[in-house]
């Protein structure tokens, strides 16, 4: 039996807007195995970031259960939740806006250590910060620099050091490399992989980049307009995509090889509005294979092969 560290059941997050309810996350279910990585992919506005934030209750979900190591964290009080967050951390997308510009590297990284009273004494804390800086590959001499003096890759390393400072078990990585240059992206991906091995971390890796998710995740969930449309082990998903949206998404990745343009599916139109969506397949309007049933009834996620689930009437 797999050791499930996190299970999410019927997670919903609706935002109230003047024009109606925006269904950012609509009935999402998944679980993550300890020490593994679940990739969540999708385009802007599909609800992947909101899902990630709901897991740590940085955004309070509308309904649903988030069971982390046997406890439904939505039932925890403020103080208990704070304690829980020692085990659950997040790395944000934009290393330019997620760091306090008025804090030095030392101040930024030591903050979670002090807040959780993990280590006491100035010298001991500084030693721990230096140790963390070494782990994430930041030179010791940078300890008193400010974020504006550093490039994107180094800033992202600070974000990572801060997230692992209190030895969490679980980290949500929200597009941790999309603001970085290619050669730096690879450096950060390798760092995250090494940390996972060393600290036995479990990741949720949120990204729009399918080649990255393919490299990094053990399992992938594809989201479209607030719902998971397909979920499978990475190799299975890339070898045998079933949902028309997944197929289109896979064929849209430009590969750095000549003549790689194999039967590209070019989607028509754009993502529909997530405000009060009708009870139908949300992808139907852009789908090549849509039939009458698709606009009448919403498809449910069904398991078609062990571990491979898909929400489409036609599969």
């Amino acid at each position: 039996m797999d050791d499930i560290i996190l299970e999410v059941r019927n997670l919903k997050k609706y935002f109230k807007t003047p024009r109606g309810k925006l269904h950012a996350v609509d009935n999402v279910n998944f679980s993550v195995v300890r020490g593994k990585t679940l990739g969540i992919v999708g385009e802007s506005g599909c609800g992947k970031t909101t899902t990630g934030r709901c897991l740590l209750r940085l955004v309070e979900p509308t309904s649903g259960e988030i069971i982390f190591e046997g406890t439904d964290i939505r039932k925890l009080g403020r103080w208990e939740m704070r304690k829980k967050l020692r085990e659950m951390q997040i790395i944000f997308q934009d290393p330019f806006s997620s760091l306090d510009p008025r804090k030095t590297v030392l101040q930024t990284i030591q903050e979670p250590i002090i807040a959780n009273r993990l280590i006491r004494g100035k010298a001991a804390i500084e030693n721990r910060v230096l140790e963390l800086m070494e782990t994430v590959g930041l030179a010791e001499r940078l300890i008193n620099t400010y974020p504006h003096e550093l490039d994107g890759g180094r800033r992202q390393r600070i974000g990572i050091a801060r997230a692992i400072a209190i030895n969490p078990k679980f980290i949500v990585c929200d597009e941790p490399i999309s603001a970085l240059d290619v050669s730096i992206q690879a450096q950060i991906l390798n760092l995250l992989k090494n940390l996972q091995r060393k600290m036995e971390l479990t990741y949720i890796f949120i990204t729009h980049d399918l080649s990255v998710v393919n490299y990094f995740s053990d399992e992938v969930a594809v989201m479209y307009l607030g719902q998971i449309v397909e979920k499978a082990p990475t190799e299975e998903l890339f070898a045998n995509p079933l949902h028309p949206y997944t197929k289109a998404l896979l064929s849209a990745i430009p590969l750095p090889e000549i003549g790689s343009r194999r039967g590209r599916v070019i989607l028509k139109g754009e993502i529909a509005s997530p405000i009060d969506p009708p009870d139908a397949c949300r992808f139907a309007k852009r789908c090549e294979c849509a039939v009458g049933m698709c606009t009448e009834k919403a498809p449910q996620l069904r398991e078609v092969k062990p571990g491979h689930t898909v929400a489409c009437h036609l599969v």
């Binding site: 050669s183 991906l189 430009p254 750095p256």
Partner: protein, 335 residues
């Protein structure tokens, strides 16, 4: 790239610097490139490599001060861009040479309808009446896949992909000979990116526009470019046809870029990032600027600037290591 083809853009030994009070940024150093009719050159490199400065220099849009075009020549067709007056330049921009900017969200004017914005470009360069220009604008919208009736709408009513289509329509309004697209799809989602790239490919086939496509995404280059120039720290380190640069890579930096990308077919292979960072353009190292990050670098690399060396008629590489006739990069050995 046949020699008998009409060369639309010819840049020779272009050097651009940003001269600041206490330092000089060497943004573009002695680059030469040519683009023929109907071909697309991909200009590849990371942030700060000088791609955008090169593009801006071609249109003489480098902010001055502090930007200075130190030396070189730029010719579009038979026009010598560097000798033009301000007034003459305005006639050329948008007519002979057009540019598509990276961010469609900020390159449109929020207080005019998209129809008016496209018509403006037509009115400026062609002898037509206001109504005729507006009709032309509607046709252009249709051409980039937006229904005519939306010409009366404002930019905020369009999504990102649609706005980029409007920007493309403006750029193509006067049938330019030469088009510069600066990261045209970076701000867009993959499925929308695929739509926009498809559109640009069709337009190239239809009108034979010569194009420079600036990007950091080697996947996009493989998709729509005919030739590739790889920039690093303001220099073109490798240049050739798509086939040459992708399948017969010569420069260690180009190799490093390929190795940094996750390979969709071999997912368990470890990534091999390029160690270190791009050098500070205000203090470039004396020898090859890539030497500090290069695993093949020798003492000679750190001492002198490599010169462009021809591999074939179309393929050049700037790398001192090729002084040794037996030198080969790893990618070359099994590719």
């Amino acid at each position: 790239m046949a020699d008998n083809q009409e060369i639309v853009l010819d840049v020779q030994n272009l050097t651009v610097q940003y001269v600041l009070e206490d330092e000089t940024v060497e943004a573009v150093n002695d680059i030469s490139l040519q683009v023929s009719k109907g071909t697309t050159l991909g200009l590849v490199g990371e942030t700060g490599a000088g791609k955008t400065t090169t593009a801006l220099a071609i249109l003489r849009l480098v902010p001055d001060p502090p930007g200075v075009i130190k030396s070189g020549s730029i010719r579009v067709g038979d026009i010598d861009i560097l000798s033009l007056t301000k007034h003459q330049l305005e006639k050329i921009r948008g007519k002979d040479v057009s540019m598509i900017f990276q961010d469609p969200m900020t390159s449109l004017n929020p207080v005019f309808t998209v129809g008016e914005q496209i018509a403006e470009s037509v009115l400026l360069h062609e002898r037509v009446s206001r109504t005729e220009a507006y009709e032309k604008a509607k046709e252009l919208l249709e051409m980039v896949g937006i229904p005519k009736f939306r010409s009366v709408e404002y930019p905020h009513q369009f999504s990102g992909g649609m706005k980029q289509r409007v920007v493309i329509a403006i750029a193509l309004a006067c049938n330019p000979k030469f088009l510069i697209a600066d990261e045209p799809t970076t701000a867009l989602d993959v499925t929308i990116q695929a739509q926009v790239l498809e559109l640009m490919k069709n337009l190239k086939q239809k009108y034979g526009t010569a194009m420079i496509l600036i990007t950091h995404d080697l996947g996009i280059v493989a998709d729509i470019c005919d030739e590739v120039a790889v920039m690093y720290a303001g220099r073109i380190v490798e240049k050739g046809t798509l086939e040459e640069v992708f399948n017969h890579t010569r420069h260690p930096y180009t190799e490093g870029l390929f190795n940094s990308l996750p390979n969709i077919h071999r997912r368990h292979e470890d990534l091999m990032p390029i160690p270190g960072l791009m050098p500070d353009p205000t203090a470039l190292p004396e020898g090859c600027s890539f030497a500090p990050r290069c695993s093949y670098a020798t003492a000679a690399c750190r001492e002198r600037q490599p010169y462009p060396r021809s591999v074939s008629l179309t393929h050049t590489v700037r790398c001192t290591a090729y002084d040794d006739p037996n030198f080969m990069i790893r990618r070359g050995r099994h590719g």
